[in-house]
Symmetry: C2
Subunit: 215 residues, 2 copies
């Protein structure tokens, strides 16, 4: 066997590509610029990834990994509803702090099946959190999936409308809060408990905002 592949080049390419994408958006990520910035040749992208589309896929996976890592930083407490709200706040903050990356992950191109699976790992914490709410008896009996996907879709809806410039930032934030209240009462939580958890979760969301940069 001959000269083995240098993994350092691969990670350098991914990190530079993620940085360029995060800072200047999809169109700024150009084959020649990436190669120049890493100090490699354009061929490196082809030997390591196969082409620009596969490179962009790697950038998406990187973005999902960062988002998952960010979500993993919200800890469980004895108020699972507040935990879910804190998760949502962390998701919201991370997305709006890195709009170009979020766009690359969820709005550019169509993800294939394997990347949809990776993207879903981002959804797992939410699913678990909702499950904990159900176990604690805060919500009326239901399957976690049924509830969590409503939360995720609404969260993503406000985030992506905001990023697309279709809704004013203030309207998005207020709307998300209203929707949170709507879901909590619809899921069966009592209005008083919901309000208390919302306050607690929001405070934690604000507190965790400082670490929202994508590395």
């Amino acid at each position: 066997m001959p000269k083995v592949a240098d993994p350092a080049v691969r990670v350098a390419l991914i990190e530079a590509a993620a940085r360029i994408t995060a800072e200047e958006g999809r169109d700024a990520l150009t084959l020649r610029r990436l190669a120049a910035e890493v100090g490699a040749s354009t061929m490196a992208v082809y030997t390591h990834f196969g082409g620009m589309t596969e490179l962009r896929r790697a950038v998406r996976r990187e973005g999902f990994a960062r988002l998952a890592a960010h979500l993993a930083r919200v800890d469980d407490t004895d108020d699972p509803v507040a935990d879910v709200i804190a998760l949502g706040a962390a998701y919201y903050r991370m997305a709006l702090a890195n709009p170009h990356l979020y766009r690359a992950m969820f709005m550019d191109g169509k993800v294939d099946d394997e990347d949809a699976h990776v993207g879903l790992e981002t959804y797992q914490p939410l699913l678990r959190g909702v499950g904990r709410c159900l176990d604690a008896g805060r919500f009326s009996p239901a399957t976690p999936h049924e509830l969590a996907r409503q939360v995720w879709a609404t969260l993503h809806g406000f985030v992506s409308l905001h990023i697309a410039g279709m809704i004013a930032p203030r309207d998005a934030a207020e709307g998300l809060e209203s929707a949170t209240r709507s879901f909590l009462v619809a899921f069966g939580d009592t209005p008083e408990a919901a309000e208390a958890s919302l306050r607690r979760g929001r405070e934690r969301g604000l507190a965790s905002g400082e670490g929202a940069s994508a590395r």
Copy 2:
């Protein structure tokens, strides 16, 4: 004054651009191909629009106009909640019948302020429908905006996750129905009335599905 501008060329460009975008997606819309397909030269795009970004903006506006026209086809009945549900179903069907156009409108590029205004015309029917529900006493007192933007964001959330391939089509449809139920009870409608309106609205949504092509 010399040779006056021919508006027929302009609309031919927009229609061809919208058709190409709708059929094959954003990357298929190429300056040279568009010019060839219309039988004009590439310069026509520059005299009429100024460049590709402005042309894409025109395509977005065209997409918004088509979506608005589609939504305008759902009539008022004496069940305003069913009307809103039918509106949502029409939105959902139109978007999924023309995913490339919907992507161009809401997911590609960032819209500027003036196009955000045009895009919001798509939101007006929903706002009006929710207002009618409030007037009819079906929902607890609130501002139409506060309720309508929750509905819009959730609708867009499921649609865009579906188009992005991040959620299984079945999960999106089921999730949207669950979310509709959640919102109706959270907004103050009685479960029985909500269920009846949901059934009526869904039937009308299915019936209106045949005309979901984008022209």
